[in-house]
Amino acid sequence: MSGLVSVAALRGSRPVWAFGVLAVTWLAAILFAHGFDSVANFRYLVQTASFLGIVAVGQTLVVMMSGIDLSVSGVVALSAVVCAKVASGTGGGATGITVALLLSALVGAVNAGGVVWLRVPPMVMTLATGTILSGALLVYTNGSPSSAHVPLLDSLANDRLLGVPWAFVLWLGVAAVAFWLLHLSRTGRYAFALGAGHDAARASGVPLGATAFTAYVSCALLAGVAGLVLLGFTGTSSLTMGNPYQLLSIASVVLGGTSILGGRGHLLGTVGGALLLTLLTALLTSWNLSEGVRQVVLGILIIGLLLVYARERRT
């Protein structure tokens, strides 16, 4: 009730663990690895973490209500590809961005509709929309997506505000809004209730439809935003540019201490999770390890960390 937070409560809180591990890893990186002590490096890290982080924040909203969104990779590509094509064609940057975001939101709505009305399990539903998206993008681009320079996206991805990358600022803004949505608003309570037990939530009058639509549309929208920022960052779009984000966004959520089964966790944990994953990847890269060894180590590290603090209660 008071401002005092007991140490025991902190130890039991999995998001706190995520930040604890992040801090220790970062400290170790600065002390023992080469090049992690510069401001430029820090800046670059938070900038690259932002792309993953924005997707992961959206994923958190869905996972919390015991859903899952496997179509985020498709949506990231969709938004970038569509925006690039529209912008490089006749449309111009603003139209491109608008169309991309609208389409992303539409995908989210389709996901939610399938889960709520057709009662298709979230994993299958989002898997299917993801597959459909990859196919649709192939058809749309005829296999060769275009590149485009949208000034707004360029500066969003690469410029800085008082030395802080805009992408990171955007991520923090997105996280703040999502924090409010999930932890302060009524919808957030509904999401937690649905995640903790569907039947009990229904019997308490929780609106499944509205909550699911909010979560899935927000998630897809954020994936769309991430796609746009990525487009600005690389200046080009590709059909596979979203692929890493499918599994990594889920890994960020889980490493951030949110239960994959829903109803338990904290949005800020996901921020820590995304930073941690990005930092680990950067560390492994800095050691000049091959792609394969990097993945192996990352996989082992994720499993190890999950074993330390993310075990589900045995029932």
């Binding site: 608003s185 309570r189 509904y190 903790a196 009990a200 939530a201 019997a203 009058g205 929780v206």
Partner: protein, 548 residues
């Protein structure tokens, strides 16, 4: 002769909560031991130590003259000749009856399990427990009672020398209970031993040789059956005499002082559950739905809360309403406390605070769904409710699963109060709850009725219906066959209507016989569904067995 099993000074705690305190008892060969106690007294826990589901913190279990090894497990227990049937079903609903009977120990020839073999071997076992089903039927297709008998057949398949029946008869009818007892006696006569847990006092006295009473995790006493009686055992179980369990009933006489019903159901029909049910819910009154288990009581309640699809007319305050979802029902200020507390009543993984606030979020964040929930208003609401219903929680942040069953039930009920309901629907409101909390809930329900709520209660506990309700409608095969009020509302008549499926004439039975709960006749009639007097030890269907 050495005892077959002896439990010596075992203690066990869960998360700092001691559930067994130096419990000791023995079971001799050729003996039936009854374990008696209120829910939460530790019976299931101590049996889990014997069957290898749990390990004791201290003390030991000695089986067949040797302490059980550290790595005691259900597998080893079964191999050592301990068979058990738990209140929680362990059948796989998707496999056949025969496959379930030999679950984990399928007989095979050259490594192959032949269906024909399995079926042939299952038949005599099923016959032994009085079960006439095709062994190839999928287990999930059988009604609950028959599934429990399959469990018994499964335990017998291991040719146990010690059989543990933990609430194994709770879902059985009279004939089925008879079959179980035949097996128990057979086993005893062959020198085997049985540990029996049941909430039906009459059953315990019918087959057991000794009774060991547990209370709050400690053994109160062990009595020879010949040297004790119901009252003695109940006193040991409860530890005190309990007065005014039930509150005074509504003063107003419906005939002299008619009140317009608040909610009227006409021709209420839920496919395959109930048909043409008419109900009038009156403000200030508690209506009960009685009958044998599974006669449509549950579905009537679920339909009125918009959970089950139904046909028929429902009017509220004289206006037709459509109750097609819980949200709609809640909008009409109907509240529902479900039977399955742990999956529908409360979110066990969420805090007490979150649980209590959930139905009131509309008022705590009034503008729209994106409004911030007011923390201060929420805190006030939670404090008010925990206070008012005396919910015992370490703090509002405590997870609901850490509460006792009674406090969980209080949460499931309390969360509706701030929504200002006009109709309150409760299914089995006191199942698996200790008698003190029962009393609190009865009195609370009456206070709510006095404040003008219309209350509808289903219960398998006859005494509860008779003691609490102003009127009881008896369901039989989905139809209302009798309505009992005033002096006609007695346990005897309720049981009679439940079993016969017809209305009873008011002058047929003398009243005093019904008031004698230990009377042979009542017990016989009641055998099927009922708790004997002072029964407070019903099984919790959601499983109160704790697993490590």
């Amino acid at each position: 002769m050495a005892p077959l099993l002896s439990v010596e000074q075992v203690s066990k705690s869960f998360a700092g909560n001691q559930v067994l305190k130096e419990v000791s008892f023995t079971v001799e060969p050729g003996e039936v031991l009854a374990l008696v106690g209120e829910n939460g007294a530790g019976k299931s826990t101590v049996l889990s130590l014997v069957t290898g589901l749990l390990a004791p913190d201290s003390g030991r279990v000695v089986h067949d003259g040797a302490p059980v090894p550290r790595a005691w497990s259900p597998h080893r227990a079964r191999a050592a000749g301990i068979g058990s049937v738990h209140q929680e079903l362990s059948l796989n609903p998707h496999q056949s009856v025969a496959e379930n009977v030999f679950l984990g120990a399928w007989p095979s020839r050259r490594g192959l399990v032949r269906t024909r073999d399995l079926v042939a071997r299952a038949r005599p076992l099923l016959e032994r427990v009085g079960l006439d089903v095709d062994p190839r039927t999928r287990a999930g297709r059988l009604p609950l009672g028959r599934q429990q008998l399959v469990e018994l057949a499964k335990a017998l398949a291991g040719e146990p020398r010690l059989l543990i029946l933990d609430e194994a008869t709770s879902a059985l009818d009279e004939d089925q209970v008879g079959a179980v007892f035949r097996v128990v006696r057979e086993l005893r006569d062959q020198g085997g031993s049985v540990i029996l847990v049941s909430h039906r006092m009459a059953e315990l006295f019918a087959v057991s040789d000794r009774l060991t009473v547990l209370k709050d995790g400690a053994v109160m006493a062990t009595r020879e059956r010949e040297r004790t009686d119901h009252d003695d055992i109940v006193r040991l179980m409860v530890g005190r005499e309990l007065s005014d369990l039930f509150p005074e009933k509504a003063a107003a006489d419906p005939v002299a002082d008619p009140v317009a019903p608040l909610l009227q159901a006409r021709d209420l029909t839920v496919p395959r559950a109930c048909s043409s049910v008419d109900l009038d819910l009156v403000p200030g009154r508690i209506l009960g739905l009685g009958g044998l288990q599974g006669q449509g009581q549950r579905e009537v309640l679920r339909a009125l809360f918009g959970l089950d699809r139904h046909t028929g007319q429902i009017t509220l305050d004289g206006r037709r309403v459509r109750l097609s979802s819980p949200r709609e029902a809640i909008r009409h200020r109907i509240a529902y406390v479900p039977e399955d507390r742990k999956t529908e009543g409360v979110h066990t993984a969420r805090s007490v605070r979150d649980n209590l606030a959930l139905p009131s979020l509309r008022t705590l964040a009034p503008a729209n769904r994106l409004t911030t929930v007011s923390r201060t208003a929420e805190t006030r609401l939670v404090a008010d409710l925990t206070d008012r219903l005396r919910i015992k929680a370490a703090s509002p942040a405590q997870e609901a699963r850490r509460l006792s069953g009674g406090n969980q039930q209080k949460v499931a009920l309390a969360k509706w109060l701030p929504t200002d309901p006009r109709v309150l629907l409760l299914a089995e409101p006191t199942r698996g709850i200790d008698i003190g909390t029962k009393r609190e809930i009865y009195h609370l329900l009456r206070r709510l009725a006095d404040d003008g709520l219309a209350v509808l209660v289903t219960s398998g506990d006859t005494m509860e219906l008779v003691g609490l309700c102003d009127e009881v409608a008896v369901l039989y095969e989905g139809r209302v066959v009798d309505r009992l009020t005033g002096s006609a509302l007695t346990e005897e008549r309720l049981v009679r209507a439940s079993v016969m499926g017809t209305a009873t004439e008011s002058d047929e039975q003398p009243e005093e016989q019904a008031d004698d709960p230990s009377g042979e006749k009542t017990v016989l009639l009641a055998e099927e569904l009922v708790n004997d007097i002072d029964d407070s030890d019903r099984p919790d269907p959601s499983g109160s067995v704790t697993h490590a």
